[in-house]
C-alpha cells in the first residue's frame, strides 16, 4: 500500500512542477531555519567545552532582594563572601567552582591598547571545568592563598601578546598595570559559554573587590559539582534550607531569592521569564513553542493552499477511488502519507542546506570558537518538526477531500 502511495505521490510531484518547486522550496527553506536555530539553541543550552559534566552540576548565578511592600528589588550575582561563608559549608557537593564576571582590563601590545577580559577563580574551578591546557597548568591553591600574581590565559590572548604559537608559560603578561606570571594556556572558549568565557583567569585573592565584604550581592557565579546526578534534589533542598537561615538585609528588603539551578533554570532565570521562586522554565518552553508554531504556520498555510488546489486537480481520482472501495478514512490516510512523503523530501533538502550553512558559519568566525553541529538531538528535533509540518499541512486538505461528493466527482466531463 505504501509503495502505491509513493508511486502516486511522485507522479503528482512530477505533474505540477512549478507547485512542486514552490512546495519544496517552502518546506526546505523553513526547515533550514528551524535546524540552524535548533543547532544554535542546542549549542547554547547543552553541555560542551569546557563545561562537560553538566548532568551533575547545579549553578548559583543570582542573588536577588525584594521588598514585599515597596516592590523595589536588587539583583546581581552572589558575592564571593556568600559562597565562602555559606555555600562552601554545604555537605552535598563534591566541589564548588567559583568564577567572577569578566572585568575589562587594558593591555598594551606594541603601544596599542587591547581589552583583556579578566575573570577571577578559585582553585576548584579548574577541577570542575574541563579546560584543555595547551601548555602549563592551572595555578594552585597555594598560589591563590599567597595571592601570587599568576594567571592562565587563553590561546588567542597568548597569540596576540606573544605571537602565534609562541610558548608563554613562565613569561609575564601585563594588564591594568599589573604583571602576571603565566602558569598555563587554555584552548579558547566561545563567547556563547557565558559563565566560562575569559581571555585571562587569575586567583580570586587578586581581585580588587574586598573579599571580606559581608554583602551577599556581588559578581560571582558558582558551580556545584555533585557526586552523582541523583544528588540534585538533595542538593537543592540543602541549598534552600541554608538560604532560609541567612538573616535578611534590611526591613525594607524582606524577600530573598537565590537558587541552585540546573543550567536551563539558571538560563531562564536570567531572562525576563524568571520570577521569585519560579525559574520560568515553563514560560520559556511555552514561548519557544508558540514562536515555533507561529513560524511554522505561515509555510504550513501556504502548503495547505497548494495542497487544496492539487486536490482539485485530482477530483476524478478521488471519485474513482471511493467508487472502487476506498473509505473516506483510507483517503485521508493516503493523502496525509503522500504529504508526509513530499515534506520529507523537502526536509532532506533542508537538512543538507542547513548542514552547508552550519559549515559556512563554523568557518566564518562570526562568533569565534563557536562550533555548531547537527548532532543527534538536533536531527531528532528536525525530524519531529518535519512530521508536525507534514501532518499539519496534510490534515486539513485531506479532510476537505474526503468530504467531497463522489457523485459530482464522477460526472461526465
Amino acid at each position: 500500500m505504501l509503495k502505491n502511495y509513493f508511486k502516486i505521490a511522485i507522479a503528482v510531484l512530477k505533474r505540477r512542477k512549478f507547485f512542486t518547486f514552490i512546495s519544496l522550496f517552502g518546506i526546505s527553506f523553513t526547515l533550514t531555519i528551524v535546524i540552524v536555530v535548533a543547532a544554535l539553541t542546542d549549542h547554547v543550552l547543552s553541555a560542551g567545552y569546557p563545561d562537560t559534566a553538566r548532568d551533575r552540576e547545579l549553578f548559583v548565578t543570582r542573588m536577588k532582594y525584594k521588598g514585599s511592600k515597596s516592590g523595589s528589588d536588587i539583583s546581581a550575582g552572589p558575592s564571593f563572601y556568600f559562597f565562602e561563608h555559606y555555600v562552601s559549608k554545604l555537605k552535598t557537593p563534591e566541589k564548588l567552582a567559583l568564577i567572577s564576571h569578566n572585568y575589562a582590563t587594558s593591555t598594551y601590545i606594541n603601544n596599542k591598547k587591547m581589552v583583556t577580559q579578566l575573570s577571577y577563580t578559585n582553585d576548584q574551578f579548574w577541577d570542575v571545568l574541563q579546560y584543555q591546557f595547551l601548555e602549563g597548568k592551572p595555578y594552585t591553591k597555594q598560589e591563590i592563598d599567597n595571592a601570587e600574581k599568576v594567571a592562565v590565559i587563553s590561546e588567542s590572548t597568548r597569540n596576540n601578546y606573544f605571537g602565534n604559537g609562541v610558548a608563554a608559560v613562565g613569561k609575564y603578561i601585563e594588564t591594568d598595570n599589573i604583571q602576571y606570571r603565566i602558569t598555563g594556556v587554555v584552548k579558547n572558549v566561545p563567547l556563547s559559554r557565558e559563565y566560562f568565557y575569559a581571555d585571562m583567569f587569575a586567583p580570586y585573592t587578586l581581585s580588587k573587590e574586598d573579599i571580606h565584604n559581608t554583602d551577599l550581592i556581588g559578581d560571582y557565579t558558582g558551580v556545584l559539582l555533585l557526586h552523582s546526578k541523583d544528588d540534585i534534589d538533595k542538593m537543592k533542598t540543602e541549598y534552600n534550607q541554608m538560604v532560609a537561615k541567612i538573616p535578611m538585609l534590611s526591613k525594607d528588603l524582606d524577600l530573598r531569592f537565590t537558587y541552585a539551578d540546573s543550567y536551563l533554570e539558571a538560563f531562564t532565570r536570567g531572562l525576563p521569564f524568571g520570577n521569585g521562586a519560579d525559574s520560568g522554565i515553563g514560560k520559556f518552553i511555552l514561548i519557544i513553542s508558540i514562536f515555533f508554531l507561529l513560524f511554522l504556520s505561515l509555510p504550513t498555510l501556504n502548503l495547505v493552499n497548494i495542497n487544496i488546489s492539487r486536490i482539485m486537480d485530482r477530483y476524478s481520482e478521488i471519485g474513482v477511488r471511493k467508487a472502487f472501495g476506498a473509505s473516506s478514512k483510507t483517503l485521508v490516510y493516503q493523502f496525509i502519507v503522500e504529504n508526509l512523503i513530499i515534506t520529507f523530501i523537502g526536509c532532506l533538502i533542508g537538512i543538507m542546506l542547513s548542514f552547508i550553512i552550519i559549515q559556512v558559519f563554523n568557518r566564518s568566525n562570526i562568533i569565534p570558537d563557536m562550533e555548531l553541529s547537527i548532532n543527534f538531538r538536533v536531527l531528532l528535533f528536525s525530524l519531529f518538526a518535519c512530521l508536525v509540518f507534514g501532518f499539519l499541512s496534510g490534515v486539513f486538505p485531506a479532510w476537505r477531500m474526503s468530504r467531497m461528493q463522489v457523485v459530482s466527482a464522477l460526472k461526465a466531463q
Binding site: R15, V320, G325, V406
Partner: protein, 221 residues
C-alpha cells in the same frame, strides 16, 4: 440481485428543488443485462449512482444481493462497493498519473491482497479486454476505446457480481462502441455478471435482455 423500492431523489439547492427520481421501483435479476434509456437530465445517472451506493436516495429502500444497505457506515459502504460492484463511466475516469496496470489494480488495493496477486489479477483482466500489450502505457497514450477497455478491466478485476455502466460507449464512435458492447455481452454470458447500462443508443439497448425507459424521473416502460 438489485432491488429498488419506491426510490425518490430530490436535489435541493438554495433556490430550486429538483425531483430527479420519482418513486422508482425496479428489480434486476441475477445475471440480467438491463439497459436504461431516456432523454438527458431524466435521472439515469442518478438512478445508477443510487444502485451503486455512491449516492443515497431521499426516500425508498435498496437491497443488493438481499442485503439491506440503508444505514451502512461510510466504511461499510466502501467495502460493499469494493466487493460487489464495478463501475464504468462515460469519461473513463482513469488516473492519468498511473500506468494502465496500476489503474487496473486499484480496486484490489482496498482489499487484502499481495502485490503479486494484484499484478496477476490485473494482467488477467487486461488480457480479457485484449490490452495485454498496453500494460506499461499511461492512459494519455491510449485511444478512447482503449481507455474504456482499461476501465472495464478495472471494473472486472475484483470479480464483482454487478457492473454498473453509465453511457460506456457515449464518447466512442460506433465501431469502438460495438467492441465495448461485445466485451460487456461476453462478460454477462460467460461470467454471469449482472449488468446495468445507461445508453442513448437503441441498437445497443436492443442487445440487452431488458430495457427500462425513464422520463423526468419516472419509469415509463
Amino acid at each position: 440481485m438489485i432491488h429498488l423500492e419506491k426510490i425518490e431523489k430530490v436535489y435541493r439547492t438554495d433556490t430550486v428543488e429538483t425531483l430527479a427520481l420519482n418513486s422508482i421501483s425496479l428489480n434486476v435479476a441475477k445475471g440480467e443485462f438491463l439497459s436504461i434509456m431516456g432523454p438527458s437530465g431524466c435521472g439515469k445517472s442518478t438512478l445508477l449512482n443510487i444502485m451503486g451506493l455512491l449516492d443515497a436516495p431521499s426516500k425508498g429502500e435498496i437491497k443488493i444481493d438481499t442485503q439491506q444497505t440503508t444505514g451502512f457506515s461510510d466504511k461499510q459502504l466502501a467495502q460493499f462497493r469494493n466487493k460487489k460492484i464495478g463501475f464504468i463511466f462515460q469519461s473513463y475516469h482513469l488516473i492519468n498519473d498511473l500506468k494502465v496496470l496500476d489503474n487496473v489494480e486499484l480496486p484490489l488495493l482496498y482489499r487484502s491482497s499481495t502485490a503479486k496477486q494484484r499484478k496477476e489479477l490485473a494482467t488477467a483482466a487486461l488480457a480479457k479486454v485484449g490490452l495485454s500489450n498496453r500494460v506499461k502505457h499511461f492512459p494519455t497514450q491510449l485511444s478512447g476505446g482503449q481507455k474504456q477497455r482499461v476501465a472495464i478491466a478495472r471494473a472486472i478485476v475484483g470479480e464483482p457480481e454487478i457492473i454498473l455502466a453509465d453511457e460506456p460507449t457515449g464518447n466512442l464512435d460506433s465501431a469502438m462502441g460495438n467492441e465495448i458492447m461485445e466485451i460487456l455481452i461476453n462478460l454477462n454470458r460467460t461470467e454471469g455478471t449482472t449488468i446495468v447500462m445507461v445508453t442513448h443508443d437503441e441498437q445497443m439497448a436492443k442487445k440487452t435482455h431488458r430495457l427500462v425507459r425513464l422520463f423526468d424521473g419516472s419509469q415509463v416502460q
